[in-house]
Amino acid sequence: MTRPLLELRALRVHFPVYSGLIRRRLAGTVRAVDGVSLDVAPGETVGLVGESGCGKSTLARAVVRLVPCTGGTVSFEGREISAMREPAFRALRPRLQLIFQDPYASLNPRMTVFDALAEPLRVHGLADGRDVRRRVSDLMELVGLAPRFMRKYPHEFSGGQRQRIAIARALALEPRLVIADEPVSALDVSVQAQILNLIARLREQMGLTLLFIAHDLSVVHYLSHRIAVMYLGRLVELGPASEVFYRPRHPYTRALISAIPVPDPVKEKTRQRVALHDEPASALNPPSGCAFRPRCPWAEPRCAEIVPPLESCGEGHQAACIRLEDI
């Protein structure tokens, strides 16, 4: 078996929280990511799903070292990047790119499309002189933008077009792994479909490995080979996309899937929904044992005592619940 392109081992990202205006003291720790292990094989697309605040964006940022890891390791191409110093890591950066959620915030408003795309090419010596212009127009065509718009500024484009620019910028560096952090959640439905198709096409065309992060399970299911479900900083389920989507095992995944509104009134009326109590606990003060316990319809006293590990429950399918047999 080939070695995974990206390996996360017990990755932890904790943020200290201070309180007090004058005498600042440590009030607690937000366990944004709390021991996540995940492999992404070359050419594979892994979807990472979870609700807001579950730590999925923090995980993405930790992999590209926008936030420091507080524990565990991140390895890329077999090298442990979480322990590297920044100058050493900079050489690897082009191969590991991130697409941001908000195309309105991820582009420098004072830079034309040309400048935004030419900059990474020049800095990393991927093109120079006249070549830059050709590469920029190639990139724009690749993502479906007319090269004649290269002298325009981000504010002259719609949200979908901006996201295309952001994608082109990430691809300019010819990355092997692209992490897409909710790339379509800020877009309208019809535009969302265009961008998803684009990502799918580019993945085939360039042989990209993709870690695709979203809160919308149907979007993730459409694009991914495997799906990982995250709740309060931990993975609760991991498995082949269709397995997770059609035969979810963890109570949280079940609730998540049953909560997606289906655009089909007939199905909607007959659909059985997993009703959840309350709302997610805070990552600052997670409950003991299984973090999902207070909302889980199947919870029992035992759930408060142990943090359930991911256990195999099928071919390449894992879930973190001690009552997998019973439910």
């Binding site: 609700e51 807001s52 719609s158 979908g160 077009q161 309208d188 439905v189 019809s190 535009v191 969302q192 479909a193 265009q194 998803l196 198709n197 799918a200 096409r201 809160h215 919308d216 399970l217 149907s218 979007v219 299911h221 459409y222 996309a241 269709s242 609730a255 998540l256 049953s258 909560a259 997606i260 509104p261 289906v262 655009p263 089909d264 009134p265 007939v266 909607e268 929904r273 959840l276 709302e279 997610p280």
Partner: protein, 324 residues
């Protein structure tokens, strides 16, 4: 008789760059006690249309150019600010998308809840407090009496949206306008809030206009739907009909572009191009430039919304002529 009958509502914004034709001759009606959905993407004019009804369009630059909106025998667009104010918040209430900003952070939950009662109905403080506690219980916030003294920042997003709903419903309105009430919330919370809205609608017997971009959400709760595009209604039908047999090419394309209706591995259907810029005058059908089924004629005249079968109407020449 419909509870609300909107006819040819037209709202334009007169900006320095030109006239933005946000809403162009929109007609819809709401029967007492029913839930209708207005679906559209951003810029379709769905929010502006509902704000126009309540006189909440910033003016200038906004101006209601024409149209009528008869609610309970009163034309909301012509009745004047005084009357409107007494209707708004009493007979018609509204909830907004973002529960984080719609609550005043410097006022206790209870005081914000009691405000409409005290202002509109002159209820005593004691009585208002009792009703507010009752309303919190109704929207599923336990221990209502104690939570009246809580501050907004102590509540999570879902809880705040519940408070917003309680605030909107405390005067027992006949009509609730909910503008993207669940967009800012997570799916599991969204499910809870939609369930809550449906239950309250039954219990209080009010009518609801649900404004959203999410076709899944309207499929769950609405009886009839209006699909808006570029400031116009493209199609209206009962929810079941619309999803089973979409007639307008836009509705059809929109439904097909959803990842959830899709076979994995195949490319998603997309709608090419972009919604029109509402500053430039639109000749013909606004959807024509993106429509796979458009003919020459679609670029010339603007199709009006016409009934093609009982209870369903569409604004497409080709559908009206039976070509599609």
């Amino acid at each position: 008789m419909p509870l609300l009958d909107v006819h040819e509502l037209t709202t334009h914004f007169h900006t320095r760059e030109g006239v933005v034709r946000a809403v162009n001759g929109v007609s819809f009606r709401v029967e007492p006690g029913e839930t209708i959905g207005i679906v559209g993407e951003s810029g379709s004019g769905k929010t502006v249309a509902s704000l126009s009804l309540l006189g909440l369009i910033p003016s200038p630059p906004g101006r209601i150019e024409k149209g009528t909106a008869v609610f309970d025998g009163v034309d909301l667009l012509a009745c004047g600010a005084q009357t409107l104010r007494s209707i708004r918040g009493r007979a018609i209430s509204m909830i907004f998308q973002d529960p984080m900003t719609a609550l005043n952070p410097f006022m206790r939950i209870g005081d914000q809840l009691m405000e409409p009662l005290r202002v509109h109905e002159g209820v005593s403080r004691r009585e208002a407090r009792a009703q507010a506690a009752e309303m919190l219980r109704l929207v599923g916030i336990q221990d209502g009496a104690r939570n009246l003294d809580a501050w907004p920042h102590e509540f999570s997003g879902g809880m705040r949206q519940r408070v917003m709903i309680a605030m909107a419903l405390i005067t027992r309105p006949h009509l609730l306008i909910a503008d993207e009430p669940t967009t800012a919330l997570d799916v599991t919370i969204q499910a809870q809030i939609l369930e809550l809205l449906a239950r309250l609608q039954r219990e209080l017997g009010m009518a609801v206009i649900l404004i959203t971009h999410d076709l899944g959400v309207v499929a769950r709760v609405c009886r009839r739907l209006y699909v808006m595009y570029a400031g116009q209604v493209m199609e209206s039908a009962s929810t079941d009909e619309l999803f089973a047999r979409p007639q307008h090419p836009y509705t059809e394309a929109l439904l097909q572009s959803l990842p959830s209706t899709h076979v994995k591995g195949e490319p998603l259907h997309t709608i090419p191009g972009l919604p029109p810029d509402l500053i430039a005058p639109i000749a013909g059908c606004p959807f024509a430039p993106r429509c796979a089924k458009a003919t020459d004629r679609c670029g010339r005249g603007t199709p009006a919304l016409q009934e093609i079968a009982p209870g369903r109407a569409t604004a497409c020449f080709r559908v009206q002529d039976g070509e599609l």
